[in-house]
């Protein structure tokens, strides 16, 4: 599989009045053509910062990409100028935002909003763009007559479809979906995910799927990365991470999910809370909540090591083996 996106040692910090927010602390990952990578973590883990970092949408100030490299199709995104970056956004890399209720413009018809991206990236007439917008709506299962309606006339699930139509309008090669179904009901979530998968296969798009739902990952992704306090703590294919869980945090995430199959009387969640990103602990960032904590965890940051066949884990317990 050809590598499409490569992120190397990305560090993003926000300088705020309350101190330096260390949102992302050296994240590396890569996505191949047609591959779906699931990125799982809790609120404040740095998932959205990573997505915005790749799109170069980090507001500066207060945010700043301190270190690292982002390569898309061999191009260094951090070296591109603003105009070139505009070509990438929407044309090559598209993003689906989390909240369908707030990410559409309320005073533009949905048709105009889809046309906007089409006209930006293709040199075609307004009429052709309008026709293409109608086709995109049909593709996501909305009749094209509704192109002249405004966002408030649609339900949540349909708004999310419109956003997907905008994201896919210019056949991007990489789709970054930031919690695309979190705000939706389960039956609608199933519809939307099924549609994203169908379109992804049809257009051979790669996807970075950001979510906190391990169920969504298991049913939709090829690889999964678990992120905690701005660091990837475990990475591997589905079998490796789901069937041979190594990191205590990943273990805790699985323990928190009420299982439908097994009869669990009590959940086994991770105790405590995510550390404050302005005041991260020394050493392993998870040691304050870890049930296997040792003295060494409080001093040294464990490296991300390969425990076999590309299964990466950031934990001293794996180093010894």
């Amino acid at each position: 599989m050809k590598e499409l996106l490569k992120v190397k040692d990305l560090v993003i910090h926000y300088q705020t009045d309350d101190g330096l927010v260390e949102a992302l602390n050296g994240v590396s990952l890569s996505i191949g053509e047609g591959e779906t990578l699931g990125l799982v973590g809790e609120t404040g883990a740095g998932k959205t910062t990573l997505a915005k970092g790749i799109m170069r949408l980090i507001p500066n100030p207060p945010g700043k990409i301190k270190e690292g490299e982002i390569f898309y199709d061999g191009k260094d995104l951090l070296a591109l100028g603003d105009i070139e970056m505009q070509d990438i956004r929407g044309g090559h890399i598209s993003m689906i935002f989390q909240d369908p209720m707030t990410s559409l413009n309320p005073v533009m018809t949905v048709g105009d909003q889809i046309m906007e991206v089409i006209q930006k990236h293709n040199n075609i007439s307004k009429q052709e763009a309008y026709q293409k917008a109608g086709e995109m709506l049909e593709l996501v299962g909305i009749v094209k007559e509704r192109a002249n309606d405004y966002p408030h006339q649609f339900s949540g699930g349909m708004k999310q479809r419109v956003i997907i139509a905008i994201a896919l309008a210019c056949n991007p090669k990489l789709l970054i979906a930031d919690e695309p179904t979190t705000a939706l009901d389960v039956t609608i979530q199933a519809q939307v995910l099924e549609m994203i998968n169908r379109l992804k296969k049809k257009l051979n798009t790669s996807m970075l799927l950001i979510t906190h739902d391990l169920g969504v990952v298991a049913q939709n992704c090829d690889h999964v990365a678990i992120i905690y306090a701005g660091e990837i703590v475990e990475y591997g294919d589905l079998q490796q991470v789901f069937k041979n869980t190594q990191h205590p945090y990943t273990e805790g995430l699985f323990g928190s999910i009420p299982s439908l199959a097994a009869n669990v009387k009590r959940l086994q969640p991770v105790e405590g809370l995510m550390p404050d990103p302005t005041d991260l602990p020394e050493g392993c960032k998870f040691h304050t909540r870890c049930k296997y904590v040792q003295d060494i965890c409080k001093k040294n940051v464990p490296p991300l090591i390969d425990i076999g066949e590309g299964h990466l884990v950031r934990c001293v317990r794996c180093q010894k083996q």
Partner: protein, 321 residues
């Protein structure tokens, strides 16, 4: 059948309509059920199905349009204001959004003290007594004592929800409506709160009506589950039985839409077409017929009621024998 001796709450023919002449929104439409003391009834449904309205109508936070609510054998719909105020000691609610349900200008201790003073459990001047009770409650829900004078904005979602729970418990209620208490929280925090609620139930003998859109959340701690669709209960059964043998096509679709966190699990999704239909002036007949893969012409025209098809298993669908 339910043992009448242990029954704490019984709802008969409860209806709540909004709006008047012309467009009438049937939020809750002829609902019947009962809950035994110390048990948990899970109410599951998608957004807009009327589950929150039902919870609030039972507490008379909305006045019912029609129907009876028996609490400990007495019809509380007939209660006057004074009787109702006294009753509120026994019936409490935990709200969905811990970010919106706390007064931002009141500290934790003020928030927990308020119901104690309103109900006259403690005298306003009894500072020592009030402080002692607040500390007791904070300890009960796992809030550190040092947080006693903090304000909601200083706390994370999990801690805020703990305040909401402490406030609901302040008056030693018997019955609590839990309106999506964990859906705004991260999965590891969600599990912590679910465990807490389970412990409190065992310790204090509470009865819960647990409203949620997430079937997997209620599975492990509800005794009975009622599935709601457009203001009506369409299926009700003991939790285990409902998962083992779902009968209503909507319940089946709902169960099949939950993403299972296991990569080897092949989902057989029943994808529903369309979205929840409008609850305004619904036509008689099965409300689910428009989205139901099995619907025939006979499904509309006549309203359906819950029938017992096997012991303790109730379903409305006329196709179930």
């Amino acid at each position: 059948m339910t043992d009448a001796k242990n029954e704490i709450l019984r709802v008969e023919g409860l209806k709540k309509y909004f709006g008047s002449s012309g467009a009438v929104l049937h939020a809750v439409d002829d609902v019947n059920f009962s809950i035994n003391e110390g048990a948990t009834l899970g109410v599951v449904g998608e957004s807009g199905c009327g589950k929150s309205t039902m919870g609030r109508t039972i507490l008379r936070l909305h006045e019912p349009t029609e129907g009876k609510v028996f609490f400990k054998g007495e019809n509380i719909v007939d209660y006057d204001k004074k009787q109702m105020k006294a009753l509120r000691k026994e019936m409490q609610i935990i709200f969905q959004d811990p970010f919106a349900s706390l007064n931002p200008r009141m500290s934790i201790s003020e928030t927990i003290i308020e119901p104690l003073i309103i109900q006259g459990v403690y005298d306003k001047k009894d500072k020592a007594g009030l402080q002692k009770r607040v500390r007791e409650l904070m300890d009960l829900v796992g809030l550190a004592e040092r947080l006693i004078n903090t304000y909601p904005h200083e706390l994370d979602g999990g801690r805020r929800q703990r305040i909401g729970i402490a406030r609901a418990l302040a008056l030693n209620p018997k019955f609590i409506v839990c309106d999506e208490p964990v859906s705004a929280l991260d999965v590891s925090i969600q599990a912590q709160i679910l465990n807490l609620m389970q412990d409190l139930q065992d310790e204090l003998g509470l009865t819960y009506m647990f409203i949620t859109h997430d079937l997997s959340v209620v599975k492990h701690f509800a005794n009975d589950i009622a599935v709601m669709y457009l203001g009506q209960l369409v299926e009700k059964a003991p939790a285990e039985l409902l998962f083992k043998n779902p009968l209503h096509p909507y319940t089946k679709a709902l169960l099949s839409a939950i993403p299972v966190p296991d990569p080897d699990y092949k989902m057989e999704r029943i994808l529903l077409q369309g979205e929840i239909t409008s609850p305004i002036n619904p036509e008689p007949g099965c409300r689910f017929a428009k989205r139901c893969p099995l619907a025939t012409a006979e499904c509309s025209g006549q309203d359906l009621v819950l029938r017992e098809v096997e012991p303790e298993h109730f379903v409305t669908c006329r196709l179930v024998q």
